[in-house]
């Protein structure tokens, strides 16, 4: 997940303060990825170091001395490149569940079926919560929020199917040699 590019995208709409960036980032991702304000300022200072954002000279500091940031032309180029480039599998973090199950299958003494069952119940509870979140959105909600929740629903659904698949695959040999 790229906080860096997310902030650039928000700044492409106009100069913003750090706290605004945080609020808008969370709103457009349906608070899926909470950001702390420290993360926002760390990222902004890296973006500034790389010449992708600058302190907005026109904008005054607000009464608390906070600074507005603006995107630079280099920042816009970087953002365009980001939108144009598909996300590759390798850019995504490894899935802990996949590693855990692979290890469970190969480690003696681990009850793989129990691992699968526990995960399936937990994943279903997550899916139930996401479904509630989706139902609670009303017509005025932003499309971005809905699509983010939809994405998580599809992921949870895929995980559920994969767990069913694992259970079925693992059940076969044990039936042949009980």
């Amino acid at each position: 997940m790229s906080v860096r590019h997310g902030l650039l995208a928000l700044l492409s709409r106009g100069p913003r303060y750090g706290y605004q960036l945080r609020a808008e980032f969370e709103a457009s991702t349906a608070t899926t990825w909470p950001l702390n304000i420290g993360q926002v300022y760390t990222t902004l200072s890296r973006l500034e170091r790389d010449g992708l954002v600058s302190r907005d000279d026109q904008g005054d500091q607000d009464e608390q001395g906070r600074v507005r940031y603006a995107i630079t032309p280099e920042g816009r180029d970087e953002l365009d490149r980001w939108f144009a480039k598909p996300v590759s599998r390798a850019d995504r973090p490894r899935d802990e569940l996949v590693i855990k199950l692979a290890m469970a299958v190969t480690t003696p003494g681990v009850d793989v079926a129990a691992v699968i069952r526990a995960q399936r119940s937990a994943t279903m509870r997550g899916l139930q919560e996401l479904t509630r979140a989706l139902r609670s959105l009303d017509a005025s909600s932003e499309a971005a929020q809905r699509l983010v929740i939809d994405s998580m629903i599809f992921h949870a659904e895929a995980e559920q199917r994969w767990l069913d698949h694992c259970e079925a695959v693992l059940a076969r040999p044990s039936e042949e040699n009980p």
């Binding site: 399936r120 119940s121 899916l127 919560e129 479904t131």
Partner: protein, 247 residues
Amino acid sequence: MTENRSPDRLPAPDGEPVVRMTGVVRVHGEGTGAVHALRGVSLDVAAGELVAVMGPSGSGKSTLLNIAGGLDRPTEGSVALEGRELRDLAPKQLAELRRRSAGYVFQDLNLVPSLTVAENVALPRELDGVRTAKARREALAVLEEVGLADLGDRFPDDLSGGQRQRAAIARALVGERRLLLADEPTGALDTRAGDEIIQVLRQRADAGAAVLLVTHEPRYAAWADRVVFLKDGQIVDSAAAGMETAR
């Protein structure tokens, strides 16, 4: 607009689930050929609750649904529908309780093609002995609830797949049925129509019906208050939504 009480207005018997299954065993066949479809399943569905049943093919999902609605009898164990033990009922009483209390929605819709949608929905009430005009009023009321108010005079073949399935749900709901049993009701539908069906089932539960849904689709099961996983005729796990319903 109508003096008829809708099914969700019925007072629930205090604390009594609409359907209660206790230690249900169902064996098909005998001797070496015997198949244990259910091996001791206990499950309650309360008024206002949507319970989803998931599990691989052959895990006993449909058998469970049929037994819950009195379409099939358990080999062992008990089933109580609205507080009445089904085992104690004579076949005629059972048929009557089943018709009055439980509605069924299956993947193949079984709408009668030569009857209009409203006539299809009114049919079970007419079989109950309700007069035609009253049965029609009830049918139109329930069609409105499932969003088909304007389509009562069409024939099933004139409707989309999703609309036909909603008509089948309306037929399952008409009258004072408090238990709705749905076996893969979204099975043959595309995502959008499937979403409409699950929304109707959810609304019915929220309005006070007890809904038992068999599905293999996690995205639809996730609309339930409780999801039970069936494997080899036994409940192996369940997931309850939200802390407040987790018990």
